[in-house]
Amino acid sequence: MQKNELLAHLSVCVEKGKADKATPTPPEMKDQEGAREITAQLIEMDVAPEEILNGALIPGMKRIGDLYGEGKAFVPHLLLAARAMNEAIVLLKPYFESGAVERKGTFIIGTVQGDLHDIGKNLVKAIIEGSGWEVVDLGTDVSAEGFIKAIEEHPKAHVGLSALITTTMVHMEQIVQSIREKYPDKKILIGGAPVTQEYCDKIGADFFSLRPQEAAEYLNSLISSTHPT
């Protein structure tokens, strides 16, 4: 296959969650090569890692993210797509680390204190990673100190808070306040089933959406508005 054909195919593998040859789904791609094999082939062909990222992984994740936002794809589809993308990311990692490929920036994400739910957070992580960002995942039950420590390690990063329960959602307010005290200009995104735009405005967070793809678009918009061309 030619480079462009391979890139297009890789992008379909990400969208459909075909991680590697052994991945049984989707049925129509059974026994075909998956994201891992095709990425390895592209690297072998000296295709620039940046082109693999921008030309295949990002558009593949965007398509599945958009379908999710429209209610036409669901949690399993996103998780499978994330796993397929991750197979490619692992192979590209040396290029990220050497600086040969630059990602758009860093995004810190965690589920807030008292809340152990991670499915929603993982979905957002997948979409944002798949949109070309490096994601630092702090896991669940993260305190204000946990977020602040991560910001100290990644001073330029934006931050995302997740909560599933109405009783843990209240911790978002405290965490946003604590972050603001030290980092008044830090962009803070919030999300989760009980969260609303009204709550986002009230606690002074910068962005809310129930659709992960919109969070990625918001982050992308920050680059275009802060990077003078």
């Binding site: 399993p76 609303t196 709550y199 009230k202």
Partner: protein, 295 residues
């Protein structure tokens, strides 16, 4: 003690209980505390919740064991006490229920996704089995597998229940209205698809809980009834969808507003009605009045 099926034959429509979680938080549970731990450390408070629903007139009450699987107890260091925590949950509700009220042993989702390999089916089965053994030994009359999203997980929980007890097994899923205007679980499953699986697995009662106020539930029950006109259907609706009041997220539907829609919910095909997030004993009392008026 009678079964749910017998009670349904006798009374037509049954009323279950309302929210537990929000109630226990009001009694001072911190958000970093395990709600089920109170079965061992503050049984009197849990008994109060159970008794408040018995006093409201419910035909059946649940147990404080929604997060009682070993997978949910593990982060709190309580995995080794799965059996005790669940047995205590059932004992407390049993004690409050007296002779006439049924106790449904609540089994919620584990948060682990089978298809992602976070847990094996065998591990899931054994975990549910341990939880359900505690609930049955503590005196639960039936097992309610609830708030499910994943068909494989629900199926595993039902099989675990049936491996342990001959008592009735109920199973409800949580459906959300998608941007495409359909009701589906977060895993993408439609109400009709859950009905097919649950009937196949031999669930005695099926239905929906959480995720919706009564209005949404009416539509979901219609879809369930299109798929199966016979099997008893249980609905635990939220007191509406959460809104922000004074900085706190609250469920807005009053007992009056909620009970006003119960007739329509029963007409759509619900046999057992009760409440989920945000509902109180007062909601249940008003529901019972609405059910009686309907007859």
């Amino acid at each position: 003690m009678t079964t749910i099926s017998e009670k349904l034959k006798e009374k037509g429509t049954l009323v279950s209980d309302g929210a537990w979680g929000t109630f226990i938080h009001q009694k001072g549970l911190r958000s970093d505390e395990c709600p089920e731990s109170w079965n061992l450390t503050r049984p009197d408070d849990i008994y109060d919740v159970a008794l408040s629903y018995v006093n409201a007139g419910a035909d059946m009450i649940l147990t404080n064991s929604f997060g009682g699987s070993p997978f949910k107890l593990e982060p709190y260091g309580l995995k080794g006490k799965t059996y005790e925590v669940n047995k205590a949950a059932a004992e407390i509700s049993r004690r409050a229920a007296g002779e006439d009220v049924l106790v449904l042993g609540s089994v919620g989702p584990t948060g682990k996704i089978l298809m992602m390999g976070e847990v094996t089916e065998q591990e899931l089965f054994e975990g549910f089995a341990e939880q359900i053994r505690g609930l049955v030994d503590g005196g639960a009359n039936a097992i309610l597998v609830e708030t499910m999203s994943d068909m494989d997980e629900a199926r595993t929980a039902i099989r675990a229940a049936k491996s342990i007890t001959d008592r009735e097994v109920l199973c409800t899923f949580t459906f959300n209205l998608t941007p495409a205007g359909e009701y589906r679980t977060m895993m993408g499953t439609t109400p009709a698809e859950t009905v097919e699986m649950l009937v196949q697995e031999g669930a005695d009662v099926l239905g929906a809980n959480c995720g919706n106020g009564t209005a949404g539930m009416i539509e979901i029950v219609k879809q369930i009834r299109e798929a199966n006109s016979q099997i008893p259907v249980l609905v635990h609706a939220n007191a509406g969808m959460p809104v922000l009041r004074e900085g706190k997220s609250v469920f807005p539907e009053t007992p009056d507003q909620m009970s006003a829609q119960i007739g329509e919910l029963i007409d759509a095909g619900a046999d057992i009605v009760g409440g989920c997030c945000g509902t109180t004993p007062e909601h249940i009392t008003r529901m019972i009045q609405a059910v009686r008026k309907k007859k």
